[in-house]
Symmetry: C2
Subunit: 341 residues, 2 copies
Amino acid sequence: MTEMARGPSNRSAPIKITDVAAAAGVAPMTVSRVLNTPDRVSPETTARVRAAIERLGYVPNLIAGGLSSRKSRMVAAIVPTIAHPMFAGLVQAFTDSMRQAGYQVMLSICGYHDPDDEGLFRALLGRRPDALLITGSSYSPAALQMLIEAHIPVVEIWDVSSRPIDMMLGFGHAQVGAEVAAFFHAKEHDRCAVLVADDSRAVSRARGFVEGVAKAGGTLVREMIVPAPSTISAGREGLRSLLPDLGERCALFCGSDLMAFGVVTEARIQGVAVPDRLAVCGFGNFELAAQCDPAITTVSLEGVETGRSAATMLLRRLAGEEPRDADRMQVPFSIIERATT
Amino acid sequence: MTEMARGPSNRSAPIKITDVAAAAGVAPMTVSRVLNTPDRVSPETTARVRAAIERLGYVPNLIAGGLSSRKSRMVAAIVPTIAHPMFAGLVQAFTDSMRQAGYQVMLSICGYHDPDDEGLFRALLGRRPDALLITGSSYSPAALQMLIEAHIPVVEIWDVSSRPIDMMLGFGHAQVGAEVAAFFHAKEHDRCAVLVADDSRAVSRARGFVEGVAKAGGTLVREMIVPAPSTISAGREGLRSLLPDLGERCALFCGSDLMAFGVVTEARIQGVAVPDRLAVCGFGNFELAAQCDPAITTVSLEGVETGRSAATMLLRRLAGEEPRDADRMQVPFSIIERATT
DNA sequence: CTGAAAGCGCTAACAC
DNA sequence: GTGTTAGCGCTTTCAG
């Protein structure tokens, strides 16, 4: 074992394309072609080059390649949280789809109210992503301006209410609220309440709900907006606070299934009959809502499908296709009725 | 408004450092210094350059900078999932800490059994991250070899049982299982069972538990290993399957709080008294375990603290400090006793 | 404190 | 098919 060990470099300088080229007896450009456009290289050469790559343990420097080709093969994604199962599913599906197409995803988690969105965008855009996925758009005008000037495909998810930068994929949150109100009305609930965390989309849903209740001639017992995030304990506290106003019969729309679960849990503890005295509808269709007892009626969102669609939209544009109408898409949502209504 | 609009470039080529330099009447190098080492530039020059940057909407190309400086100011992180609250917390805390220090995190979600770990590592290392966070190490030898040859700081989290690549931060999963077994024993449970998903760490915990039960002279009623991931419905099904063997009294250790919640829910439906006939301990200390009713006894993990510690370890090394003993750290865990035991 | 020259590792564009 | 040349946009290094 005193001979030089075979196999990759022992703690020497990192292998680069010229090393591989030298080892294979070809020009660097040929190595590059083997990696990027294999069909333009003869099989024998390819084999020799591949062997050299293998032997040296060469890992191409994508940074250098990106600088040269002006393509980073990287997309940035910004979501407020990954604790929310819908976003978790979305991110996972988006990442998978992009990776399959050869893109790496840089994920940023920005919270619901990022004070320094400009700083975040600068850090992201500075890496010259080929495309961008962002959530909603409660961003500062300066930050949005940066996005526009980046001249890359951008897809906004989660909210279709605002003026889009480029592509858009989501649903009107107010509309969700309205549909839940209509659903409650159809079930002959005329006393309604709503409990949400104060993030702008949830508040939109609440507003849509309140309007829907009014339009249907119902009574709004209470509109509770609590600090984000939307948690189980917020739901439990919410119900305790609502208790005095509950009356004979009341229907409550919650900002998330977590909250709804908290409400249902606390209701059992407090001896409030669900759904007879209190009907509950959640939002998000988390596993919890389906599997807890009683199972919770909720609004289903299809995070996975949204993530996949977002990837498809971006990939189409990255492949050079022109913008089209379908680039402004509503994501379907549906009310899944279960035991709490 | 027929004059040329003020403000940043209207759809022209992207602004680069030479544009800013020209606009400010300085050399490109001076612009670079304003951005990277502001204290080495006179205040007046700085002001002029900053104004030009602002006016042109210049966003430095970090790709080019990285190539030149051989520092990407980027770290890669690999986790199996973000659906698990512990990982979600960890990732969030890690990302925050790194971002504060000026590093961007590239997150990869690899699932529990990635067939193409080499491909993933190549994609990541090709971007020349300055450091790496990885979860556990059920990776192929070739893939691990790539990590070693990257010659960057690596911190492995989540499992301290294997031989480390560099730094390590986690806890012995087998030890967790053993402690839960001891905990059950202390509560005079001599009939025990365990239910986990088949991911390698969860299986380690189960094994530790089984050994612990044996050591304490207890009886292992059942060891159930179900397909990953660990879900509520897996817990519900698990209990149904366990039902015939439950006997008078039994203590069950679950692979996650989700499973434990499923078990407790199904137990209520089936009329199994918790904790009198069936004691349950979860794993992970999710909000759900604390807030459901009955609240679930669990093992608490401190994902947030782990993420922060991992960041600290890496940042120390990135700042040039030498490896030290503290680089192999146990993350504390604790059993939180609640109503299900 | 500021500038000029050289080059990071790769690929586009054009030869051969 | 393969090689050569010339950068990509920035920072290092060295001079002033």
